[in-house]
Symmetry: D2
Subunit: 337 residues, 4 copies
């Protein structure tokens, strides 16, 4: 049994992670921290009977574990992550702090200096379908953002094959409200979000943009072409990204479909739907799957629908998938296929 | 045109009131206040294009109007109400501050001394179906709570006829989330309330209990028999109260139905459903109606379902109904039948 | 008082229309028909106390009214509309039957011959912001589809100014479930639609596409560039269309904003939001407004968010707006500004 | 590995059962049937990638398995169950067909003769907390209804201790829409159920009543005192029953709490909340738990809140719990604690 710890267990992502870890057959949870919930039981914070006490960060000793998951918010994560890493503990960080390889871009988007910039080149971007081998050996994995997961898995086969043409790549994304976190705000008030549907930070304004641009460019693609429009959707969980991508005008749907089939043939968590079906949230929520569908709107005009659960494949589930890779376990252990 | 003012326009009740007042043909809105929104336009606070500036309470001059509506929270309302009243302005107060006629009971339930206790005997409880004549001449109307409106209209014909027997009167009430106010909290967070259903303050613990007990006892009924269980329901608006009431075992459904028909024959806003139909939220929301249905579970066991819109018949709509009465207008003016 | 009749009152659109007509000060409702509800009262079909009997189509005499609204489904509408028109009654048809001016295109998309093709050239497309003068004198108005209303009002100023560049125009639209009609189906089952989000008929496959293409081309725009992706959203009502439109790369947000301000300066039902705000469903539902917001994603990349209530500005509300124009009334009479 | 089969896999209960069976470590699924889906894959019927073909009932051979689960509707189940039973296969029936021990009562409530009445005395009512020992040896288990599960687990300790006094026992129950089945109807249409809340079959009219009466009376309690009011709630899943129960007026909350603690001390799936907390849907959904809370409204007036997931503890989860007992497995195997 591999001993692990969790920092930041009282948010939606941390809680979802705890739920998975409890059922995972190869690990044991040594500690879970929460600043607001320190000294309380998890059942005081969430409606579950789990017998788990929450510690303050200071009372958690990373020296007792082989790996830690950090669900701390960006900015707050970097110091804790760096210190666990320095102690020789393998880290999976679910914040944005180690996703961008360039500290200047981090500062531009997150408005603060990076306090552990020396680790940025070492951190592996934890999208197993792109970086499986690097993840296996990684000391520090930067778990991708929820939106980037849905967008990058949709684009990856095209990027690899160099099939993206000129013109904007549009990702029109719709996310459930858990993506906005558990801290109460007017935006997440039931009466404001229910029976509503709201765009926010559309265009090139959302903090997940630079992360996607970085990965598109790493694969030789046109990162500057990306337009990304997130929308708040009145559901608890799930992201559906509808992507509009220019491809060569001679491309047939069958050829694209085959490309995706080949790329993802062995992937346990990517589900390419048969031609004619469209991915919906229901194809993905409450699982670690990414469901993809392909549609040609006209010559050279590809529409990809990509659905994930933002708390699972978009956060805690993917974190455990990374953990499994890092520790040589079956990649799907503890996860819902 | 009767000039009116509104205190506390930036909560759900205040906003709903503004919406009604804008369309009301016999009045003009002279001012609207909001502590958090002072200096802003209403369109900065709600997604509407209304051309209305919000003032701070201090900048609003009740001397310029004939009536004010106060949507301030309990505790905060009493002083403003008393001062408008002292200035000779007729007041409709939507808070709990003037509903209880006994200052000691107010203190017991609201945890503070009443600063305008001299007005408690003068204030008229603004349930038109019970107190229409007193409302017409009132200088100060205490608009009923949302739950009490749904419960008292359900019980009133039985109370008047002296038909309530021994044993508990149970009001199992379900309310939409707008009833909890606009201030963000974990309870009203979308992800906490959505796909959930939660009892709270059940039994004899909720602040609306003493208000209902007072009115039941005023009508000679057994206030101490009331058990009241509110539940938070994942809808924006509406209250459905399911009441279980002991009646004489010889009572027939037809006789009860006739009693209700007679009592409410001329009421514009009480809708007694035909035998065999059951009141649902959809019978009432977005209108000023109270929909009632009657069912006999067995000899002497009456079930009443009572549905209102908590923001309309349960608050702003009823306030305007009271206003119409106070100023000799058609009782339904500006309201949705 | 202008006497009117309604065909097809028992669907969501028909019911919404009845609700508006009841409050409209200048008309009286002479009859309402429903095939499934013939002989019933409206209160048997919807949870309202309205005192209205539903007739079968055959029992309604258009000779007694000056105007009829048809909410019959496409295919079923054309015959009834043609016969009312032949009787000299002015008609507002809410189906798709008279929107397309080319009978061959109608047949291609709706799979049946048009039985009243002689009226296609006479019918006026009932989008007041584009065709106000023609609507005033029209004998037959084809009320636009809900999606086209949201898309065309978003594009109209650009089309008029000739500002749309090369490349796809993408309309990523999200609609509430009432848009799918009241007939039960698996797609509209609560458990299937709730907590879900589903694309359908995306690309160039939805029946509202040819209607939009026709109007874009009428205004000299590139109809063939339109890609239209509707999505089913778990709300009762409302459409939000997010449009991605190529404009000249020198265009500034201010210049575009001014263009929209000028175009829509006098429009009672188009609400252009201030720069920096984004249109959401909450800006439009339960009103006859279309709320628009403008965002520049980058040089030449305009994003327009357009929100309407699909049952109001997208159907019944716009129908009454057209009626008001046809009968020389205040365009906003009976409608919510 | 124990081989099992499932009849009726294409409803919500059948699908939920399949999901559990796939993860269950001690069984293998030999067949799954569906009349409407015969010949299709499960992925054609539900948005899941499971590699499972659906057979018609006739093509499924119970001779190849040790146990079958029947999720067929009442009426349709009895014959299939009887024939599997006759073939020596152990059966867990999730319909109502074998819950009532009296064929005359079955006929009265379900409107048809019972075709396998000889099995009624043999069938064990599958509520493990009441009948664990009988279930272990049963050849035929009648899995309880969802509402009865929530109500009986709430009442059981009181019934055992003989603590229920005179007067009505009121169960005011609220259920998610999946309880109404997957067949589309107006009642389950999204627009009708969403933002609504509806009582139905209240009093002594719902088919689950006789099942609860039977079990209350088996335990020596006053079945005739039960009033049961179900309400449709706009959530996918979950039942919250609020029960009002007369108890001796000298009873203290602590004594009742201790009684429940003792009764359920060893139960893996009953979660008694600490005093002061109230059970909500969130305490139970997506798990096999029943969450219970106790409140005293006044002397002798107990309120019990009981929450379950109607598809899990109220159907498929409980069925697997019964299966585990029948086959000598850990009772919680494959289920979420």
């Amino acid at each position: 049994m591999i001993k692990v710890g969790v920092y930041g267990a009282s948010g939606y992502t941390g809680f979802e992670l705890i739920r998975i870890l409890r059922r995972h057959p190869s690990l044991s949870l040594a500690f879970a921290t929460s600043e607001s919930g320190a000294g309380m039981r998890l059942s005081d914070v969430f409606p579950v009977p789990y017998d788990l006490y929450l510690l303050s960060k200071e009372d958690a000793d990373p020296g007792t574990v082989e790996a830690v998951f950090s669900c701390l918010p960006h900015g707050a994560a970097m110091e804790t992550v760096a210190s666990a890493h320095a102690a020789g503990v393998r880290v999976i960080d679910l914040s944005a702090d180690f996703r961008l390889r360039d500290a200047a871009i981090y500062k531009q988007w997150y408005g603060q200096d990076h306090m552990a910039a020396h680790l940025l080149s070492e951190a592996v971007y934890g999208l197993p379908e792109l970086y499986r081998e690097q993840i296996r050996g990684a000391a520090l994995v930067a778990n991708p953002g929820c939106y980037p997961t849905s967008v990058l898995l949709a684009l990856y086969p095209l990027l690899q094959a160099g099939l993206i043409g000129d013109g904007p790549i549009i990702a029109d994304s719709k996310s459930g409200v858990s993506g906005a976190g558990r801290k109460p705000s007017l935006k997440t008030h039931f009466v404001e979000a229910n029976e509503n549907f709201s765009p926010y930070s559309i265009g090139r304004a959302h903090r997940h943009l630079p992360e996607m641009v970085q990965e598109i460019e790493s694969l030789g693609g046109p990162g500057a072409s990306l337009i990304f429009s997130p929308h708040l959707t009145p559901v608890d969980r799930g992201i559906l990204s509808t992507l509009y991508v220019p491809v060569p005008s001679s491309t047939t749907l069958t050829s694209i479909h085959n490309l995706y089939l080949e790329t993802y043939a062995l992937e346990p968590f990517v589900w390419l739907l048969p031609e004619g079906q469209l991915a919906t949230l229901a194809h993905a929520v409450h699982t670690n799957r990414c469901a993809l569908s392909l549609t040609l709107a006209g010559p050279g005009q590809l529409i990809i629908c990509s659905a994930i659960d933002n708390l699972l494949k978009g956060a805690a589930g993917q974190a455990v998938q990374n953990f499994n890779l890092m520790f040589g376990l079956d990649e799907a252990q503890g996860l819902d296929l």
